[in-house]
């Protein structure tokens, strides 16, 4: 939707912020270093302001996640230019919240299996389970297609199941095997 007057533009932006600020903040704090999250969020909001006319109605949040993904990635690239390799790898890891409010300590096997997957597989599983996006929404945020995302999600779940089985061969392996058709919701 193209916004005509400045007042209308401000109103629409404020309404957009009311809708996406909290989930965007969560998305960024899951993926960016704690001391960077505020800057990243500001950058994302500025991009939303500048591209307000491009925000697709009905898919605002997945689209905004796409902007956030790109911005987090750019911040990482900028940071990596100044860091040694070991430090760079450290920045790629998901942030660890001090008091660990997550269940990572309760389900270390799954946390380890997830951490051992390629970054792209981890990300698609996070978008699915943490952001609670469906394949078509993940596709929008990644700039891909729903079919491709369904395939990738299915493969990522299979890899996660295999990793869990490798950790404990007595556990049932197929914790998430499913056809791409079932994913396409």
């Amino acid at each position: 939707m193209v916004v005509s007057s400045e007042g209308e533009r401000r109103d629409r932006f404020e309404a957009l912020v009311a809708d996406v600020y909290d989930p965007l903040q969560r998305y960024i704090r899951r993926r960016a270093a704690a001391d960077e999250a505020g800057d990243v969020l500001s950058d994302v909001l500025l991009t939303l302001w500048r591209r307000l006319d491009d925000v697709p109605e009905g898919s605002v949040l997945p689209w905004s996640y796409g902007v956030a993904r790109r911005t987090v990635s750019n911040h990482r690239r900028a940071a990596s230019r100044h860091l040694k390799l070991v430090e760079r790898l450290e920045t790629e890891r998901p942030p660890v919240v001090d008091d660990d409010p997550s269940g990572q300590m309760e389900d270390p096997a799954l946390a380890d299996a997830l951490a051992g997957l390629p970054a792209a597989d981890q990300e698609i599983l996070r978008l699915w389970a943490w952001e609670q996006l469906e394949p078509r929404e993940i596709a929008l945020s990644l700039g891909s297609t729903a079919n491709a995302v369904s395939l990738r999600l299915s493969r990522a779940r299979k890899k996660l199941a295999d990793a869990m089985t490798r950790q404990d061969p007595t556990s049932p392996g197929h914790i998430g095997d499913e056809t791409a058709e079932e994913n396409r919701r």
Binding site: V67, P118, L151, S154, I175
Partner: protein, 197 residues
């Protein structure tokens, strides 16, 4: 079973709904809304780190460092699209050709390096969705053209739809001899050492 996995993964979320978030400050929003909206020219990857200074109407000036904004202002509704797909030639490795011995140092010399998932194999082309650019581009898709046919190509790299691959290229040509292949932990580790994560 899938729902169970989703719930188990959700319990790993460090920012689950029980964790508090901060509301946006009025100063921040006013600062952003005072930024002029102007079309920006298309820029290359190196310009992504440009910073925009954002003045605010409040007494204190707020400076926002904006990485990547320029690359996102090119119009369209795709938040991550960054230009047309990159096309590379993937002739397949010549079994008689001399290969340079694989090393991270040699790998690091490649001007193009990315990780991608094969989403289509039609005729003599393989389409990859880029999952991660290590070096040399920011297109969201790469198309590999196989002038010697798909058979020759998959003899070198066993592409299949849904598979994930690490690819390097010189002069528009996919590099073989172990420098490109299916994404394995070992090859990915070499890419991360060569190009940084």
């Amino acid at each position: 079973m899938t729902d169970q996995l989703r719930k188990r993964l959700a319990r790993l979320d460090p920012m689950h709904p029980g964790v508090d978030t901060e509301p946006p400050s009025r100063e921040l929003l006013e600062g952003i809304m005072s930024t002029p909206v102007v079309e920006q020219p298309e820029t290359g990857p190196e310009q992504k780190s440009n910073r925009w200074l954002v003045g605010i109407a409040a007494a204190a000036a707020l400076v926002l460092a904006v990485g990547g904004v320029i690359a996102l202002t090119g119009g369209g509704t795709d938040p991550v699209a960054s230009g047309p797909p990159l096309e590379l030639t993937a002739a397949g490795g010549d079994p008689m050709a001399m290969c340079i011995v694989f090393s991270v140092e040699e790998l690091a010399k490649a001007p193009i390096a990315f990780e991608g998932t094969a989403t289509a194999m039609e005729g003599d082309t393989v389409t990859l969705d880029v999952d991660h650019w290590f070096k040399g581009g920011d297109a969201s898709q790469v198309i590999l053209n196989a002038p010697q046919g798909m058979e020759a190509l998959i003899a070198s790299i066993p592409f299949e739809v849904g598979g994930q691959y690490l690819i390097t290229a010189y002069d528009g040509n996919v590099n073989y001899c172990g420098f490109s292949g299916e994404s394995t932990p070992e090859l990915r580790s070499a890419y991360e050492q060569a190009f940084g994560a």
